[in-house]
Symmetry: C2
Subunit: 387 residues, 2 copies
């Protein structure tokens, strides 16, 4: 984790407000100046109240972000949206901004209302403790089953040097299409949303849409990019876009490595496909297969499960052309097994990072995705989450 992360004019706090029975659960970001914001939300048809609320207010500029853990505020109807409105009205005067410049992001249990009175009572404490060096407290306040806070810092250069700081939370309900619950990127690089919208979308495709833990798509998934207003520094634009991509990629890797119960991360590469979309479907199918994921956990070089998952992806596949490598060792060629030393390969599979290459030998398109193993702890965490 990077130390001493801060951006001038952006203050963070994270406190225990009482949403959870213990631990920090309320994060606040206050921007001294108006910021532009770009957002990307879950594709789930069931959307949390904060998404419905933010969509109404995030057309303009923003001055604050409230992010809480312990309650997803999803499936809470109009009341859930009203709760956010009530909180923003109390918070706004405390930080000297109109209520409509406050955004929200929530994570936690679905179907429960926010304890609005509890949160409102805690707002003076949250607003009173913000500081430029407070991002670690903020990152901890948005954790649910995460085992560590997730912060990334990078810089980009133009006429001067700018900071790009990302913070995320996510561990379960990590899905292949839009794969975190909450991620925020802050920068002092002055740029309009229009200028970086495409880079933002592309960076998400290459990062959070390339990881999966359990194939679940949250009701709350939210990614936000906050950029400064002011004259654009065109010399730094390409550098900024690249840095944005790096920051989102690193955040997404922090998320998948902290996948619920995960002991390993597997990188699934499908190449030699006639079409990229076919490679993608096969890679995602392998990455979601409970049988390949339990085999990773057991350090089992079970390529049969990998090819079986590939064959079940709903796209053309010629099994007799497929080569499979595990940890760099060719283990199947032309769809049949290459003799290998079980002990040696099992030992290679014991590593924390697993590499799977499936070569279809039919074309030039490829796709890759990161996934976790499926372990006892995933079951343990999720069989007892609410209680």
């Amino acid at each position: 984790m990077v130390k001493n992360i801060s951006i001038k004019g952006i203050e963070f706090s994270g406190i225990a407000s009482g949403i959870k029975s213990e631990g920090p659960d309320l994060g606040l970001v206050v921007f001294r100046d108006d910021m532009n914001v770009l957002t990307a939300y879950t594709r789930n048809r069931v959307k949390a109240a904060h998404i419905l609320y933010d969509r109404k207010v995030d057309k303009g500029t923003v001055r604050a972000l409230v992010a809480n853990s312990g309650c997803a505020n999803a499936c809470t109807g109009k009341e859930g949206v009203g709760d956010l409105s009530a909180i923003s009205k109390v918070l706004a005067p405390l930080i000297g901004t109109p209520p409509e410049k406050v955004l929200f992001a929530c994570t936690g249990v679905i179907g429960k209302r926010l304890p609005v009175d509890t949160i409102i009572s805690a707002l003076p404490r949250a607003a009173g403790s913000t500081k430029e060096s407070g991002i670690d407290e903020f990152a901890r306040a948005i954790m649910t089953t995460d085992t560590y806070p997730k912060i990334v810092q990078a810089t980009c250069k133009g006429k001067k040097t700018y900071k790009v700081v990302g913070v995320a939370k996510g561990s379960g309900m990590i899905n292949p299409f839009f794969a975190t619950m909450l991620a925020f990127v802050f920068t002092d690089f002055p740029v309009s949303p229009e200028t970086v919208r495409r880079a933002f979308t592309q960076s998400i495709r290459d990062s959070f849409e390339r990881i999966t833990v359990d194939g679940e798509c949250s009701t709350n998934d939210t990614i936000m990019l906050f950029t400064r207003q002011g004259d654009e520094d065109s010399h730094a634009l390409e550098s900024f876009k690249e840095t944005l991509g790096t920051v989102l990629k690193e955040l997404s890797m922090l998320v998948v490595r902290d996948g619920e119960g995960a002991t390993k991360v597997a990188h699934i590469i499908v190449k030699g496909s006639k079409r990229k979309e076919w490679a993608e479907k096969i890679a995602r199918r392998i990455a979601l297969s409970p049988l390949t994921k339990t085999a990773f956990f057991g350090s089992d070089p079970n390529w049969g499960r990998i090819i079986a998952a590939a064959g079940d992806a709903g796209v053309p596949l010629n099994p007799s052309k497929v080569d499979i490598s595990l940890q760099g060792e060719v283990i199947a060629k032309g769809g049949t097994e290459v003799p290998f030393d079980e002990k040696v390969l099992k030992k290679l599979m014991d590593r924390k990072e697993i590499s799977v290459i499936v070569d279809l030998n039919e074309g030039k398109a490829s796709f890759d995705i990161f996934t976790t193993d499926l372990t006892y702890d995933y079951v343990k965490i999720n069989a007892s989450y609410r209680s």
Copy 2:
């Protein structure tokens, strides 16, 4: 389990041939007279050798079925098909039939060749031990991670009474689209394949395609219906079709109840849909969700995970219209929570059978499917299967 199951003229055996390090692994069925056969195979693009082999020979009538566990004979190339040919040539004279009247079905580890010499040495013992009362031995010889043999018997009536006997194996790699590895139905009802083909397909749709354990689609899935030849008894035809449906449904329920590591079976009913296909997609998505499945394991009335899965099914859904019942208790109405007693509901969820009803309140179409919970033992079984 029904006792004393037999059909005149159909003999079964099950022996330990040495494919596995211990336990029965080679099942044989010998038909005294030529039988008609209807088959349905996996939709996986990667198909086991027995499917490739049977497709060549099952156009005509059959006299024997060899089914083994311990080796899937999948991803074994032309050699895998040749192995079956070699076995059939040795078996045929032992049971007095041409080799092309012998069908095969294999289950077990993918990617390994059959130990042909071992099997051939065991064939005289397999052929010598067949008997009409041997179905239990046969059912045990095709088990892999199954914890009990799966046999169902029923009768249908026309001018006389006919028997319909089903046997299946399946526990893991149970997928939502075609959901067992091996199931065989035998009957002394004389009927041509053409007459019952539609009923066979529909019965599979209503049984094995309505269960899921882990969303995995095997390379080996096979369902076969063996019927007697001779004059059709048209009085019994409707009764037979109904009985066939019952037998396949009961077999599929035996399979899902024996799902790897499963402690519970959940019946997911989605109703009030504008289209049946939408109801189906939502039901299947809920049935495959690791988060709903771990919640079932934990007796957690976590309806939020159910509606989140429903919203992620890729079909239209109006969350504010959705009602959800668990164990007959309404727990969400109009997409928001109905106050309920956690303790009471948790106790209801402790039962072995869980009922989930999701009412979309938008139309009249519905779909239902059976799934299992996701448990420590699923991980345990599959993290150590090959070793």
